[in-house]
């Protein structure tokens, strides 16, 4: 044995081992030194937070939510946020949503957050986020069940999702088909918040059915029933009103129209509209669509309540209120007759409307 330790082969092996060990120790010391330099200016609490939290997400792609997180009020920033997240989703990147700097949040943003979170989780792509610094924003998100679902719940890739607690004012649903029983139940619950009793609101029911049917039939180029629709419903018991935020991440209205194949009644519809109305952009086209002119031009017939014009008609009949539509590069607020082009493109359709005590309803 003694003889072996003195052999050149052993000596060489031992020197190599010692060198490696020393290198590892030096490397570790260097890392500790660098880390201490980095953390020199941090307080004890900041250091604790960093070790407990930030270090764990250092390989996540961080996406900052807009300060004014409202699809209705701030559509461009919200669309930019959605597009960044969509990029992460398509690349299957670990994603961290930074909500800390959100100063204002609308309930329509909740449907966006929920749909994004569930899409990531159902595809097993790590997804996380921080808490908003503002207490009221944090409370809204906590009450919606967002953080509870974010931290604790796993989602499988399913056709239907249903999130939110029964005692909470906000509920989110998702499905690929048309579900008239669900929409009727949602409206029944809304009517209790608004009128204090169960009522039927046929205009609101029609609005939901037309939107579900549109997503089912037109949201995908490939096949029908391919995309989810997402619906968040917020009950404002103080002001006796309920707001509905509906979103699908399909192709959007204009992309869908321009991709209709020969044989479809909407084939070449955009060209026909340009020829007839000489309109300049998609904002004007959306106005024509909502007024039913697209259907009339393409089919030569009145739209008879179908699709988006049917929803606008429900607004005119005072069956719903405050209709806002965002699709592709257009924002519209039908109440103000405000149709404007956006600088960013939203691949999908977002619709928000309200049901309140002034709207028409029927006894149950």
């Amino acid at each position: 044995m003694k003889k072996y330790w003195t052999t050149p082969k052993y000596k060489k092996q031992n020197v190599r081992k010692a060198r490696r060990s020393l290198n590892r120790k030096l490397e570790f010391k260097d890392n500790v030194r660098l880390k201490n330099i980095k953390e020199q200016r941090l307080s004890k609490e900041e250091k604790k937070h960093k070790h407990q939290f930030e270090d764990k997400i250092k390989d996540y792609t961080k996406v900052r939510a807009p300060e004014d997180f409202s699809f209705k009020q701030n559509p461009e920033k919200v669309i930019q946020f959605i597009n960044k997240i969509k990029g992460c989703f398509d690349r299957r990147e670990k994603t961290f949503v930074m909500l800390e700097s959100v100063k204002k949040i609308d309930y329509d943003a909740i449907v966006v957050l929920f749909s994004i979170m569930i899409r990531f989780k159902s595809q097993n792509i790590p997804f996380n986020g921080d808490f908003p610094a503002e207490n009221n924003i944090r409370n809204i998100l906590t009450q919606s069940g967002f953080f509870k679902n974010l931290l604790k719940r796993n989602f499988k890739d399913e056709d239907r999702y249903n999130v939110g607690e029964n005692d909470h004012s906000l509920h989110t649903h998702a499905f690929k088909n048309v579900d008239s029983e669900l929409s009727a139940k949602i409206i029944e619950q809304a009517s209790k918040t608004i009128w204090g009793e169960t009522r039927r609101c046929q205009g609101a029911q029609r609005t939901l059915l037309e939107l579900m049917q549109n997503t089912n039939n037109h949201a995908s180029f490939e096949k029908e029933g391919d995309k989810h629709w997402w619906l968040s419903v917020n009950h404002d018991k103080t002001n006796n009103r309920v707001s509905f935020s509906f979103v699908d991440y399909g192709v959007g209205v204009f992309s869908s129209l321009s991709n209709k194949q020969e044989g479809n009644k909407f084939f070449n519809s955009i060209e026909k509209m340009i020829e007839r109305y000489k309109y300049g952009n998609n904002a004007e086209l959306l106005r024509l669509i909502l007024e039913g002119d697209l259907h009339k031009t393409v089919t030569g017939e009145h739209y008879r309540g179908k699709g988006l014009p049917g929803i606008k008609e429900a607004l005119k009949r005072n069956q719903i209120s405050n209709l806002v539509v965002v699709t592709n590069n257009v924002y519209s607020n039908a109440i103000d007759d405000n149709y404007k082009l956006l600088n960013v493109n939203f691949t999908g359709t977002f619709i928000n409307w309200e049901l309140n005590i002034n709207n028409i309803s029927c006894n149950a």
């Binding site: 048309v178 008239s180 039927r200 046929q202 049917q213 089912n216 179908k306």
Partner: protein, 114 residues
């Protein structure tokens, strides 16, 4: 003239759904296949009126109505004249639906003629 009556909320469902069966429950296709067409056929054979009452439901999507009534011409090969002779639609809650359905029938008839 005698009448057969259908009240959709009572005889079919209070929550009418999409156009086709594949798109969800309580579709217009299902309503036409199982209730509307058999009853209308009965009314035609007995030379009486079929009255369809639309009231009492949660509300209708247009696809449901178009498929139910327009489909009588497209799928069941009835003509608008026969339908108008034997079918009466009533609604006091949403009176505009009667006019819409008449137009769905006319549209389907004009497409059939083409």
């Amino acid at each position: 003239m005698h009448k057969i009556e259908i009240k959709i909320a009572k005889d079919f469902v209070t929550t009418p759904g999409p156009r086709y069966k594949k798109e969800g429950s309580h579709s217009g296709e299902l309503f036409r296949d199982t209730i509307l067409y058999p009853k209308l056929k009965e009314a035609i054979n007995e030379n009486i009126i079929l009255q369809v009452d639309l009231d009492g439901t949660a509300g209708y999507g247009t696809s449901f109505l178009e498929e139910s009534f327009g489909g009588l011409i497209r799928e069941n090969n009835l003509t608008i004249d026969v339908i108008n002779k034997h079918l009466q639609i009533i609604s006091s809650e949403e009176d505009y639906l009667c006019e819409d359905i008449q137009h769905y029938l006319e549209d389907a008839e004009s497409k059939r003629k083409k």
